[in-house]
Amino acid sequence: MGWGAPVVYLCALALSLGLCALMLILAGKPALGGLFMLFRGAFGQGHSLLDALIKAIPIFLCSLGVALCFRMQIWNIGAEGQFALGAVGATWAALTFGTLPGVVLLPQMFLSALVLGALWGLIPAVLRLRLGVNEIISSLMLNYVGILVLEYLVFGAWKDPASFGFPMTSEFPPAALIARIWPGWLGKLHWGLIACPLAGVAYSVFLNRTRLGFELAACGEGERVARYARLPYGFLVLLVMGLGGALSGLAGSIETSATLGRLQPTLMVGYGYTAIVVAWLARLKPWPIAFTAFLLAALRVGVEAMQLELQIPAAFGQIMEGAILLCVLAGQFFLAYSVSLKRPRTGPPAQVAEARP
């Protein structure tokens, strides 16, 4: 299909941008100027690209985590809660072992974030395996509970005595902060970025090069198929939920340490939900996930710039994001269509193709 994919995406993007321009006109704002501002705010300046990149890090990691679960049709939508627990874990380590040097302290923080995130992910997995409780509902409910756990600690036991009672922990010691890569040139971009290629490569290798990875893909065909094939279904469910939770937890610890430097309820801005959109738009593949996470982050950064320049309401950005997502999603159809033209399916024919006139 050659360059079909990018062309289709560009067309869908163009269509949605056209819609946005229309809405701008309706709102009485310059349409072309607005779109230009959006683009410049997202890509046109070095700092905005860096901002988008920084924002994409947690989205990418969470997205990889949920994608792993989606691969075997485990609907983990609990990234938000796992992210919160990861932040809690990292904070616990930072507050408890604050006197240790960074080489020891940071791994300690990541470790406790990974463990807590994984545990939070394992709860729905265990409930599903032992009792058949649907993981969508349990992981969704655990999102709320996870955020409230974070709030409970920050409003209570972990509140910084020097913060005048405001809900925040004390600032982390310098050893607990992830350093910036090259402050002179790369601004606020931090070493947490390294986690992304590492996790991405590990994800690819695991899925494409290991036996467990193949088994996991087979389990994606459904639980019954997996059990007939004598695959370790239960173990794999625990594995993906644990790993997925750990990845989201890692994202939480990186975000806490690198960008906030302390734990605050304001950490939670919904990256866990954004991650689900990203994972599906990218069809659960690591490179497209990275690309989509970056684009979505850039879109949000760009909308902020546009909002400031044109004084349009914040809700406008939401409408644009929704419209763009829907258009791109619909555009993917043409991708699938062009593929099937060239490569007929080998399986049974599409089930209800004949039902369509």
Binding site: L127, L131, G132, V133, N134, I136, I137, S138, L140, M141, L142, Y144, V145, L148, V149, E151, Y152, F155, G156, Y273, I276, V277, W280, L281, P313, A314, A315, F316, G317, Q318, I319, M320, E321, G322, A323, L325, L326, L329, A330, G331, Q332, F333, A336, R345, G347, P348, P349, A350, Q351, V352, A353, E354, A355, R356
Partner: protein, 316 residues
């Protein structure tokens, strides 16, 4: 707690549960037809505005309700088009719908903030309102609450006692078989999505027409997400949806009253209650169902529609 307070609590439970009940029933229809719609939150937000606007422009609460339902169906229709015609992923489409709907509600609704509407008011049902206990809880509410009493039965009847319902469920369970039987599963699914959106829209309109009579944005406040979760809690059955919606609404109302009567429990812990309890009840009922299954009493009644979330073209 005094008996008077308990009655007030139960009446508040019904009020808090009603919008969630409408939305849960709507999502049940949609998912029974095989289409997962994660956009309920966006639908409720937009239709709360549409409900307000309809009432504001026409002065009639019922026309407002119709506008809310229509807006819900339209937005759900967008989801239907993306998923059914363009075969877009249902999860992404639903999430995008939420972002879109909430944004649209905020954008369109902001200029009207603070406008009062003459929506639905509470009135006592003759005779029934005088029943001891029950009258106080159920029959001194507004028209939309009374309507919601009928809804579960209506949805149940539609899904299990009409041929349309049978086809709808077939489209969600085995679209191929439905197609072989001469039905048009795509059309059935689309209708299911529209109907589901309509009910979610009624839930949204309830918020702006009955729950509060003052328009502001942000009325949906996460209730759509709760509805999505409660569908699973309800095992895709209308009857259990009632239990779920009232349980959730009840615990929320309970924790507020616990605070109001003066308690020293930190509020974060109290606010966790509805979510934790939902999972706990699910765990308990799942455990019971499991032991029953072991004894061979029940079939796989708690399972999702087999083709839920799978777009028809890609089934093969």
């Amino acid at each position: 707690m005094s008996p008077e307070l308990i009655l007030a609590l139960l009446a508040a439970t019904v009020q808090a549960g009603t919008p969630i009940l409408y939305a849960t029933l709507g999502e049940i229809i949609s998912e029974r037809a095989g289409v997962l719609n994660l956009g309920v939150e966006g639908i409720m937000a937009l239709s709360s505005f549409a409900g307000f606007l309809g009432c504001h422009l026409t002065g009639s609460a019922w026309l407002g309700l119709a506008a809310g339902g229509l807006a819900g169906a339209l937005l759900a229709g967008l989801h239907g088009v993306v998923c059914q015609v363009f075969l877009g992923n249902q999860v992404v489409s639903g999430l995008a719908l939420t972002i879109f709907g909430v944004g649209l509600c905020n954008f369109l609704g902001t200029p009207y903030i603070g406008q009062a509407t003459d929506g639905f008011h509470q009135f006592a049902v003759p005779l029934l309102a005088d029943l001891p206990i029950l009258g106080r809880i159920f029959f001194r509410q507004d028209a939309l609450v009374y309507l919601s009493f009928l809804m579960p039965a209506l949805v149940w009847f539609l899904l299990w006692r009409t041929s349309f319902g049978l086809g709808l469920r077939a489209a969600g369970e085995m679209p191929a078989a439905a197609s072989a039987a001469g039905l048009n599963p795509q059309r059935l699914r689309f209708l299911g999505v529209l109907l589901g959106g309509l009910l979610c829209g009624l839930g949204g309109a309830y918020l702006s027409l009955a729950h509060t009579n003052l328009w502001t944005t942000g009325l949906s406040g996460g209730r759509g997400w709760v509805a999505v979760a409660l569908v699973i809690f309800a095992f895709w059955r209308p009857g259990r949806a009632v239990a779920g919606a009232y349980l959730f609404g009840g615990v929320m109302a309970f924790q507020l009253r616990l605070q109001a009567s003066g308690t020293n429990v930190p509020s974060s812990l109290l606010l966790m209650l509805p979510y934790v309890l939902t999972v706990l009840v699910l765990v308990l009922s799942a455990a019971r169902a499991q032991s029953a299954r072991r004894r061979g009493i029940l079939g796989r009644k708690s399972a999702a529609p087999a083709a839920l979330g799978v777009n028809i073209e890609s089934v093969g």
